[in-house]
């Protein structure tokens, strides 16, 4: 057995060498050669196996200990029995006989009296539950006292976001169908090339960004125990960002495209509006935090403030022209598109989760320090990995290598974040079945881990070899932007809106939203991953290109099916949103001055 293990281990260690034996042997870039990276992975596998074995062994040892203890107890019991005298044993047996004969009369719990709720404990009596087919979830516990102005801001930001979500994914769905029926229309402004960036930018800057900022306003005010510094500024930013998405989409459909770099398709005068919106938002948030009524800055605010400042820097660097001729543009493109996702959406969303998750569970975050670690490593590692979108490209090899190495480093912030969220949920798992908010958080967290790690692994040269340029990339971006960001957004929205408006959406519809979105995403992701892999393998085999188009067709069908489910789920979400905010303003709400706490 031992020998066998050692042989397998040696074989695993030697495998990469065997596989890469026919390559030209050079010592340059040895660290980045696929063989070495493969070896690291294999060693990691061996380590994991070793750890598993260790656990099994330890478990066995503990079992033996337990068994020994049990035997000891049993012996003591036997001794006790032997030592007993006859009369005692008879008494015990009689008692047991009586117990076995006992029968219920049937009125033990009710009694003969009429039911009276003297203490006023019962709030609602339900004879026929309105959704007999589903488990009733717990209602939101309380409504929060929030200034009316802030409520309005949060609701309008989320409302605009929901609008762009529905429109943006309708376009996405239409694009997905174009793979199956390329002749769906003959309008220039609806053609695939022009419409694709309309979809991506609309769900980026319209849906995700507006939802994040809206939810952020509440977090900033709440965790600073303060009023928002300037409510009017929030409205300026709202208008600017919506104008950006509207104008940008019209420009793209008219064929005015900045240059086709992903997420940089809006021309600069349009994107300038967005940047101004961000600056205003940042300053508003910053001033609110600066005048906070408690001494500590809550970790959410770290993430939110930083993501705003990083994105402002990023937008400026992305659009300044001085270094963007030739492949300079490509370096910036890798940096920009990756940071757009990592420094803006991911960072901001993490900030939101650090508030909404613990608040939904009504308990503190598991570890504050892990949050701080995740924060600094996010900044350090994420910034360096943009070029992993251009592995094997004519960009400098060292730049690609840095990107790959730091992609692997992303393990640290991702594991830190995931651990923190899961440990916060730990002990409250039963809430998952009782709450309609937590499943969204759980799915978001799982995708945070899986999506991010998958991204890191995809950066390795070998995986890039198979997957780059294929539909696998599209699957990855939906896994992250949808599985992580959108699910966390919905979790937060369902967590906070009922508390602000006092109106809860129908649980059946929230459930429908969750399952449609989740199953849809899964179908979308799996089909494109499988298809993308076959596509990559077909290219490696040197088959004619058109073969890879033909083989994708069934996978594109499943993608369209998944996409349709996702889109339907957004309609349900839009309805839920409408239901939650309908007539909220008419409800009386106590707008009191925020209580001052000084520490």
């Amino acid at each position: 057995m031992k020998n066998c293990k050692i042989i397998i281990l040696l074989f695993l260690m030697a495998l990469p060498n065997l596989l890469s034996a026919q390559e030209k042997i050079t010592t340059d870039n040895w660290l980045s050669s696929p063989g070495i990276i493969g070896t690291f992975i294999l060693i990691a596998i061996v380590m994991i196996v070793a750890i598993i074995i260790l656990f099994v062994k330890l478990n066995g040892y503990i079992d033996t200990m337990k068994r020994r203890q049990l035997d000891k107890n049993r012996m003591a019991f036997d001794d006790e029995l032997v030592a007993m005298d006859g009369a005692d044993i008879d008494a015990i047996l009689e008692k047991r006989k009586a117990a076995l004969k006992y029968k219920l009369k049937g009125d033990e719990l009710s009694g003969g009296h009429a039911a009276i709720d003297e203490k006023g404990l019962i709030q609602r009596v339900e004879k026929d539950p309105n959704n007999a087919f589903f488990d009733e979830k717990k209602k939101t516990s309380l409504s929060l006292e929030t200034p009316q102005e802030l409520k309005k801001i949060v609701i309008y930001y989320i409302g605009a976001a929901a609008f762009w979500l529905v429109l943006g994914t309708l376009i996405g769905q239409y694009l997905g169908m174009k793979f199956l029926w390329p002749e769906m229309d003959y309008q220039s402004w609806l053609s695939f090339g022009r419409l694709r960036p309309v979809h991506t930018n609309m769900v980026f800057w319209g849906w995700s960004s507006l939802a994040m900022i809206g939810l952020g306003y509440f977090v900033i005010a709440r965790t600073s125990n303060n009023n928002i510094y300037n409510y009017n500024w929030a409205w300026y930013a709202w208008r600017l960002i919506n104008a950006t998405v509207l104008l940008g989409s019209l420009c793209l459909m008219a064929g005015i495209n900045n240059g086709g770099g992903e997420y940089r398709e809006y021309i600069w005068p349009v994107m300038l509006l967005f940047a101004i919106g961000l600056v205003i938002t940042f300053y508003n948030f910053y001033k609110t935090v600066a005048t906070r009524k408690i001494s500590e800055i809550y970790i959410s605010n770290w993430f939110i403030l930083a993501s705003l400042i990083w994105t402002i820097v990023l937008t400026i660097i992305g659009y300044l022209p001085f270094y963007q001729d030739g492949l300079g543009e490509t370096v910036i493109q890798g940096y920009y598109m990756h940071q757009g996702v990592g420094m803006w959406f991911m960072t901001f969303t993490l900030g939101l989760v650090y508030y909404y998750l613990p608040s939904a569970l009504n308990k503190p975050i598991y570890s504050y320090s892990l949050g701080v670690l995740a924060f600094w490593t996010q900044m350090l590692f994420y910034t360096m990995i943009g070029t992993h979108h251009f592995v094997f490209s004519p960009l400098p090899w060292w730049l690609q290598t840095i990107a790959i190495v730091f992609s692997a480093g992303m393990v640290i912030p991702v594991v830190a974040g995931t651990t923190n969220f899961l440990m916060t949920m730990k002990g409250s798992w039963s809430h998952i079945s009782k709450s309609y908010v937590l499943p969204f958080f759980l799915v978001g967290t799982i995708f945070y881990f899986v999506g991010s790690m998958q991204g890191s692994v995809q950066a390795f040269r070998f995986t890039n070899f198979v997957w780059h340029f294929t539909d696998f990339n599209v699957a990855h971006s939906h896994m992250t932007m949808y599985g992580i960001i959108a699910f966390f957004m919905w979790a937060s929205i369902y967590a906070i809106l009922p508390k602000l408006t006092g109106r809860e959406p129908s649980q059946v519809f929230v459930g429908a939203h969750f399952w449609l979105a989740f199953i849809g995403l899964f179908a979308y992701m799996m089909s494109l991953m499988a298809g993308g892999t076959y596509k990559g393998l077909s290219w490696i085999d040197g088959e004619p290109f058109i073969e890879s188009v033909i083989l994708m067709k069934p996978y594109w069908v499943w993608r369209a099916v998944g996409g349709s489910l996702m889109f339907v789920s957004h309609l349900v979400f839009a309805y839920n949103f409408y239901y939650m905010v309908k007539g909220y303003a008419k409800k009386p709400s106590a707008t009191q001055k925020v209580e001052e706490i000084t520490v």
């Binding site: 174009k178 199956l180 002749e183 003959y186 695939f192 090339g193 022009r194 064929g255 005015i256 495209n257 900045n258 240059g259 086709g260 770099g261 940089r264 398709e265 021309i267 600069w268 001494s295 800055i297 770290w302 403030l305 400042i309 990083w310 820097v313 990023l314 660097i317 022209p321 001085f322 963007q324 001729d325 030739g326 492949l327 300079g328 543009e329 490509t330 370096v331 910036i332 493109q333 420094m343 900044m379 910034t383 943009g386 251009f390 094997f392 490209s393 004519p394 960009l395 400098p396 730049l399 840095i402 070899f465 340029f469 490696i540 085999d541 040197g542 004619p544 290109f545 058109i546 188009v549």
Partner: protein, 335 residues
Amino acid sequence: MLNFHKEHKNLVLTAGGVFIALSILIAILPAFQMQETQPIPDEQPLTAHEREGLNIYVAENCMACHTQQVRNIEMDNVWGNRPSIPSDYFYSKKRMDFWRQSPSILGSERTGPDLTNIGKRQPSEDWHLLHLYNPRAVVPASVMPSYPWLFREVDSAFMSKDAKVVAVPKEFFNKPGKKIIASYDALRLVDYLKYLKQTEMPSGDIDDFIPALKKIQAERAEGGNQSLDGAKLYSQVCAACHQDTGQGIAGAFPSLVGSAIVNDENTETLIKIVMQGYNARTDYGVMPPFGDQLSDAEIAAILTHERSSWGNDSAPVTEDDVAKVRQYVEMELNK
């Protein structure tokens, strides 16, 4: 000192400052460095027409599906003779105008083929125009959109003389007395596509591709291309017009099935057409010359495939046959 938990100013300044520093290191400095690149000596700048074509390429966002980078890995060898290098982009990647930046033509998605060398792989203007008008007219399985707004429908009677008529097969356009002509934009876009050719390196030595498969690797080691796959070459080079079935497209590209020229015992005309191109028949598109692009052995393999497929049953063409014709053609040119 830097109490991030309580000092918001320190927190924001540190996060912002470190991010800016890292960004300069990882993005701005390398970008400046890449901008220093010089063109390859033989590299051709874009003409005014080709640049207009590039602008249309960007406006239609062709980059959403087409890459323009030959990576240094084996599978990309079909898209170019050598891996792309930064100099390849010297002329095309410049800021377009005051409003729009340097185009991201490298792309990130290969839903359609790479276009680095499309001008060489597919030099026929007629093919490009028909393909843009309706890709499925030439590649039945294609999922590329049609671009009818780059074309105009006109009365044959009122057509100006210099209008470029697109030979569209009947199934795709059939209105009596009407013709499809290419708009100015379509012609410029095709100018740009034809411009896309990999420049040869002056020294001739190029970086190797990183091999992918042991199989291919082994074939190489066994003395290279002793047996060229005619069917594969045909589907890469010829099938775009003449189709995998050899039947061509009625009204655009002639059928090779049972063709007198293809099956002629004397292969001279056939080889000459492949080498020099063909423009003798007005009812079909122009055939571009392939003499510079294909070696003698490759031409022989393709022609042997054509002469023995789809019911054609004629003697194979040898490398020597092709070499003879090539010699003859060159002699004639030098006269």
